[in-house]
Structures are given as structure tokens and as C-alpha cells.
């Protein structure tokens, strides 16, 4: 199995605050890596660096062996091969769901509209949103919006999918449908790097769980190991805080 993503000693600071501290992480093809950790531990920042929404201060990131942190690399081309979904404000509110999904294929890859729409509808069908294709995002529930956003991120057939706390802003009863979709994606072999608070979900979908603390990966391993029997005291502290209501 090839390595899709390789982060080597990545460093990122905002002003005086160091958010990522010489962090190294590899994600193999078809692997699902879940990042857990407190707010400010660097999970979102790492995802944004991988997607070139932030520039790293030091270190390298390789995608399929190519150095994407090289200033000469074409950022737009890189981003076409990586999909990302955020916690909120994903869909473009002034377009229908279908237009949202077909925007990139039509504008970036110059796919003609009928073809783009057929493919988009097929994808939406698979997640049960074909009926909402001509609606505007404000008519969809939060869970439907996030699922549509995931479909949109997949329409380019990306090598890697980044999910940044995609269920954190949803009402509890809507979280399940989104997690089910991600589970299906894993079964289809999608390589994913996920930041989440949902420990139960991490347990069911992760091949590997990484605990981030103060910009470094303090501990990583299979979910049973990290979540049930963490070796680091800080990991235990973090998990205990989550467990107590």
C-alpha cells in the first residue's frame, strides 16, 4: 500500500503561538486516520496545512510522493486532488445543491454541464439526496447539508478526504446519518484524515487514532488501544474529561 500523505516535521505558528510543533504523520492508501485532541491542539490547523489553506513555517508535506509545500507547486492542482469538508458554511447558499456539486467539475475540469449533472445526481442518489438536488441549501437540514458537502468534495475523485469536525455543529439526531455516510466511504476504500470529538465514531471507523496535544502527536495506535488503554497520562486525562458529562 502506497503512502498517500506524508507530513514530516511540520511546524506552524500564528504570531507567538506555536500550533504545530514538528509534527510527523503518514497516511497510507485506503487508511482512515482519526485525530482527537482538545481545542487548540492543532487538528484543524493540520488539515488546513495539508490542503494548503495555510502555509507551513517549516517541514514538508508530500502527496503521493510530490512535495506540495514547495512554493513552486501549483496550489490549485494540489487542491483538486484533496477534498475537505468543514464544520459549517460549506455549501454555497446562493446556488442549488446540484449547482454546488457541479461547480468544480464544470469550472475547473471543464466538464460539460449535462455530463457533470448526471454524475452529480448519481452521487447524490447514492446518499439519498437526489430529491433535494434542485433545492437551495437553506431548505436542507444540517445533516443533509453536511452530506451534500461531502458529496461535493468527492465529485473530483480526490486521493484524500479531509473531514474537520463535520458533525460538531449538528443536532445529535442528525449526526448518525453523516457518520453512516463516512462509514460507507471507508468501506469503499476512501483514504481519509478525520478530526472529530465523537469517540464512538472514531472507534468504529478509524484504522488509527492519533491524540494531538499542544501541537504534537502524543500517542497513536489502533482505536482500542488509544481509547480504552491509553499509555500517556494526558491522553487519559483528555478522555476522562470527555466521558464525564
Amino acid at each position: 500500500m502506497s503512502t498517500v500523505l506524508s507530513c514530516h516535521e511540520v511546524r506552524k505558528a500564528f504570531g507567538a503561538t506555536v500550533v504545530l510543533r514538528d509534527l510527523s504523520l503518514d497516511v497510507a492508501e485506503h487508511e482512515v486516520v482519526v485525530l482527537i485532541g482538545a481545542s487548540g491542539s492543532g487538528k484543524s490547523t493540520l488539515l488546513r496545512c495539508v490542503n494548503l489553506l495555510e502555509t507551513v513555517d517549516d517541514g514538508t508535506i508530500h502527496l503521493d510522493g510530490a512535495d506540495i509545500t514547495d512554493p513552486r507547486a501549483n496550489a490549485d492542482h494540489v487542491r483538486q486532488r484533496i477534498g475537505i469538508v468543514f464544520q459549517a458554511f460549506n455549501l454555497f447558499p446562493h446556488m442549488t445543491v446540484l449547482d454546488n456539486v457541479t461547480l468544480a467539475p464544470r469550472r475547473v475540469h471543464r466538464v460539460p454541464r449535462p455530463e457533470a449533472e448526471t454524475r452529480a445526481l448519481a452521487l447524490l442518489e447514492r446518499v439519498g439526496l437526489a430529491g433535494k438536488a434542485t433545492e437551495y441549501p437553506d431548505r436542507l437540514s444540517g445533516g443533509q447539508q453536511q452530506r451534500a458537502a461531502i458529496v461535493r468534495a468527492l465529485v473530483n475523485s480526490p486521493r484524500l478526504l479531509l473531514l474537520d469536525e463535520v458533525t460538531s455543529a449538528l443536532d445529535p439526531e442528525l449526526v448518525g446519518e453523516v457518520l453512516a455516510l463516512i462509514r460507507d466511504l471507508k468501506d469503499e476504500g476512501m483514504t481519509m484524515l478525520i478530526a472529530t470529538h465523537e469517540m464512538g465514531f472514531a472507534r468504529r471507523v478509524a484504522d488509527r487514532v492519533c491524540f494531538l496535544d499542544a501541537g504534537v502527536i502524543l500517542e497513536q495506535g489502533p482505536p482500542d488501544q488509544v481509547l480504552d488503554a491509553p499509555s500517556q497520562p494526558r491522553t487519559r486525562q483528555f478522555l476522562q474529561r470527555l466521558a464525564t458529562p
Binding site: G83, F86, Q87, F89, L91, P93, H94, L103
Partner: protein
């Protein structure tokens, strides 16, 4: 809470619920209250109107004021000259609005460019908005319409064009700031999502940011255009005859102020459609623009 049915259960949608007497009593009470407040509002408005009318028309100077401001003959005589002047206002408004919008949008986009490479452009754009929002329009008009011809350069355009440029440059600065506020109000995740789909900066602007930004700032922009409609007339200080100037000329000839009233009425009529469009757009934008994300 149970509502005992009061009538036979034949209903249009199969729902056997019928309102209780208590509920019917509440509804009837509220209806009476509404009717009462409407009547009170109507009567008090009428009374106030009557008092004002009586106070104004009964005052000692009213007949002369009426002659000075509401003389039908003078109104009729000045109508065509004022209308001809208004045509200048309309033409100038059309071209200056387009120019100011284009300039404003360009400067706004220029100010939001992030890469360090564009720093000189951003600085220039910022300087422009500072200078021309601060400079009084009349001063700019004088400089353009009197100063530039004074340089005696060959090919100096007419005073009308120069004045139009002064208006475009001054209003462009205000519009630029409104556009910029709109662009920056679009959630950064929207831009991130667009870039993440592989769209270039230009494509992101065109398909994601600007459509949202423009819808958001349409009301304040149109508001500024209504103001422009009136300021356009200031060009008359440089020679051209606009509606107000035409009214002024008529007034001086007859020593009667009615032409100003005529001009004012025409201006309001001219602005009314634009104001109506603004209101309609605000309503439509509010409906569509609810933010995405939370359920």
C-alpha cells in the same frame, strides 16, 4: 392539553379538532382590540392632519406663501425647462452610476487581494478610498471642472465629462468600501471551500464570493445611488443646466419659488422606482441569505 370538540367531526383534513368556546372568546377579543387600535390610529392621524392643515392655511402669511411656492401658472411655465434640466440629471446619473459601480467594485477587489505581491495595489486602493471619501464633492468638482481646463491640455473633454469623472471618482470611493464590507462579510469557509474544490482565486471571486457579497450589499449600494441621483445636479456649478439650476433660473425671473417645488416633486418621482427596487431586493436577499451549517 385536551380540547373538547364542540361540533360535528366533519372536517376538511380529517382532523376532528374544533376550537373550544374559550379559544373562540380569545380570538374574538383580539380581533376587537385590533379593530380598536386601527380606528384610533386612523382618527388620530386624521385629527393631526386637520390641525396641521388649519394651522398652516390659517396663518397670516399663508396666502403669500401659497403664491410664492404653489403658484399654478408659474408651475406650468417652469415645468418644461425643469424637465429638460432633469434629462441632464438622468443621463448623468446613468453613466456616473455605471462608472462608480465599476470603479468601486474594482477597488474593493483590489483591497481584498491577500498575496504580498499586490501590496502596492492594495496601498494605492486604500489611499484612494481615504482621500476621496474625505474630500467634499464640491471641491472635487471645482478641481475637475475648473482646474483641469485651466491646464489647457489639448483634448480636454467637456465640462460635463469632467464633472462626471469627479462624481465617479468620489462616489466610487464610497461604493468601494461598501463592496469591500460585503466581500469580507462572506464567511471565510466559503472561500476555503471554493479553493479546496480547486477553483482559482478569480473563479472563487466570480462564482462564490461576489454573488453573495453583491446580494448582501445591494440595499446600501442602491441607497448610495439614490444619493448620487441628487448629487449629480451639483455639476451645474460648472455651467450645465440641471433641473435645480433650471428651477433657479425660473425663480430668478419671476421672484417666485414654485419652480423649486416642481423640481423637488420630479426628483421624488424619479427616485421612487429606485427606492422600490431597493426594498424589494432587500426582502428577497433576506429570504435567501440564511447561513448554511447548523441544523
Amino acid at each position: 392539553m385536551d380540547h373538547p370538540s364542540t361540533g360535528s367531526p366533519s372536517a376538511l383534513d380529517g382532523d376532528p379538532y374544533r376550537p373550544s368556546d374559550l379559544q373562540l372568546g380569545r380570538v374574538a377579543y383580539r380581533r376587537r382590540q385590533t379593530v380598536r387600535s386601527v380606528i384610533v390610529a386612523a382618527v388620530s392621524t386624521l385629527v393631526l392632519g386637520l390641525i396641521l392643515a388649519v394651522a398652516i392655511t390659517g396663518s397670516p402669511g399663508w396666502p403669500r406663501v401659497q403664491d410664492s411656492f404653489l403658484d399654478p401658472q408659474v408651475a406650468a411655465k417652469s415645468f418644461v425647462p425643469v424637465l429638460r434640466g432633469l434629462w441632464l440629471n438622468i443621463r448623468l446619473l446613468f453613466f456616473c452610476a455605471i462608472g462608480a459601480l465599476a470603479l468601486g467594485l474594482t477597488v474593493a477587489i483590489g483591497r481584498t487581494l491577500r498575496p504580498a505581491l499586490f501590496f502596492p495595489l492594495r496601498a494605492l486602493a486604500a489611499l484612494y478610498t481615504y482621500v476621496f471619501r474625505g474630500a467634499p464633492l464640491i471641491v472635487v468638482l471645482y478641481l475637475f471642472a475648473f482646474g483641469i481646463p485651466g491646464l489647457r491640455l489639448t483634448g480636454t473633454p467637456s465640462v460635463l465629462v469632467l464633472g462626471g469623472c469627479a462624481l465617479v471618482i468620489t462616489y466610487g470611493a464610497y461604493l468601494a468600501e461598501v463592496f469591500r464590507a460585503g466581500i469580507e462579510s462572506v464567511h471565510p469557509s466559503q472561500r476555503a471551500a471554493a479553493r479546496s474544490l480547486g477553483l482559482t482565486y478569480g473563479q472563487t471571486m466570480r462564482h462564490v464570493v461576489l454573488p453573495q457579497a453583491l446580494r448582501r450589499v445591494a440595499p446600501p449600494i442602491l441607497n448610495d445611488l439614490v444619493a448620487l441621483q441628487k448629487d449629480v445636479g451639483l455639476i451645474s456649478l460648472a455651467g450645465p443646466i440641471d433641473a435645480i439650476r433650471a428651477a433657479q433660473i425660473q425663480t430668478a425671473g419671476s421672484f417666485n419659488f414654485t419652480p423649486y417645488v416642481v423640481a423637488g416633486a420630479l426628483f421624488v418621482l424619479l427616485a421612487a422606482p429606485l427606492i422600490a427596487v431597493t426594498d424589494w431586493l432587500t426582502l428577497r436577499a433576506a429570504r435567501r441569505q440564511s447561513s448554511v451549517g447548523t441544523a
